[in-house]
Symmetry: C2
Subunit: 227 residues, 2 copies
DNA sequence: CAGTATCCATTTCGATACTG
DNA sequence: CAGTATCGAAATGGATACTG
């Protein structure tokens, strides 16, 4: 394993990048995660020891820098790491266009809510606190109810009721919400079909789609759409 | 192994593409190889059974088409496969810019000569037959001498003396010629340093660099150059 | 030309539990 | 918070030889 025995730069890049999980960790770092446990939330099926190992490999390759603070450790991409965004972008576009639709084994409520919560548009939200309650009836008990609590400082994700007043409640199956998030079905269409149910005052209901920024790849053109 | 359990399109693309050798096979197909044994020459360290397996996986994923002719089998990229050129391109550029210089274990005379021979510029060459003899003194006996025989039909690679009149003879270590090929050192500089030695009439000697097109990534800007 | 067949050493990863 | 420790099951793929 390891080297391909080729001088070709594609092969030498893949020596590092074809290791399982590696580019997903890079994707998380590109998305802005800095702490070990934040990274974990972006790759929830990855074991912590494997994450450690990958971070070390990426560090040794000059892609990641590790900073030890007084009471926290942060990881950051180097210039080389930041340039991997071209690779991740190309992969994401290709995956969106050509990979078959998502199946049950691709669905993960923890990842979905983690992605959703870190992409809320704080600017678009009203001043003060906004609390979005999500209910995924078909998820496992522990992953069924979520709260995104946003103020001008940022957005937090809770899996316990924080007790605040709810601005809006969103109910959908894990599959529906996932497919809306990645752009496979449109928000409005899911609402009209009754697959996405919103409990909120009318003005909130209208605003809601602008608060939730969908996946970066949601707007990618799909050649197979409707086939 | 296999699924990452993520709906993220980067993850779904990597489910297919992070398997060892896969993108190098795609690179070969993008470079124009159509036949099994041509593909093998582009990935000389890959076992034939593994190549078979990867081709099957790529076929099942809709990336490759397999055509059985009367006495030959050809593989061709589908539209989905052709679009992987964005991914391969991004990887090659990144690898060129950020992967450390090549080491001995990256050198492979078979691959080098295969790459060189399929990138000669037939248009730039004189009419009739052109025969380039390569001598790599430090390669293993069987991989030390090569002949590229080009006419207006195409270029062939031989590892036995075809017996034709030699237009030019090029002598360099495997490392030097590899580094020139991938653009790590310039042709002229290698010649001036005496690392690349050419036996040919003066007008051929001047023309030679235009006949040999270097690696597609040779011209990529290297941020670490000279550090 | 275009693959199969075989075989095992090695790796790799996932799951889980635990720690300063 | 930021990791280690441990373990075994699974698979991966490299080497080599062979075939219609």
């Amino acid at each position: 394993m390891g080297s391909y025995g080729q001088f070709c730069p594609v092969a030498r890049a893949m020596e590092l990048l074809d290791e399982r999980w590696t580019l997903l960790v890079v994707r998380e770092l590109l998305a802005g995660s800095r702490h070990f446990n934040d990274l974990r939330r972006g790759v929830p099926r990855m074991s912590p020891s494997l994450l450690t190992k990958r971070l070390r490999t990426l560090h040794d390759a000059g892609v990641v820098e590790r900073h030890e603070g007084p009471n926290s450790v942060t990881y950051e991409l180097t210039a080389a790491g930041r340039e991997l965004h071209h690779v991740v972008e190309a992969l994401g576009i290709w995956g969106t266009r050509w990979m078959p639709e998502i199946g049950d084994h691709h669905l993960d409520p923890r990842l979905l809510m983690w992605d959703l919560h870190r992409n809320v548009d704080l600017e678009a939200m009203p001043d003060g606190r906004t609390v979005l309650e999500f209910h995924l009836p078909d998820a496992k008990p522990r992953a069924r109810d979520w709260w995104v609590v946003a103020d001008d400082e940022g957005a937090d994700l809770c899996d316990d009721d924080p007790g605040y007043e709810i601005t809006a409640r969103i109910e959908a199956s894990l599959e529906t919400l996932s497919r809306v998030w990645i752009g496979e079905i449109a928000w409005d269409r899911a609402v009209r079909a009754g697959d996405l149910r919103i409990s909120a005052p009318d003005h909130v209901r209208r605003q809601l789609p602008t608060w939730l920024t969908l996946s970066h790849f949601a707007s990618v053109d799909r050649p197979m759409a409707g086939v």
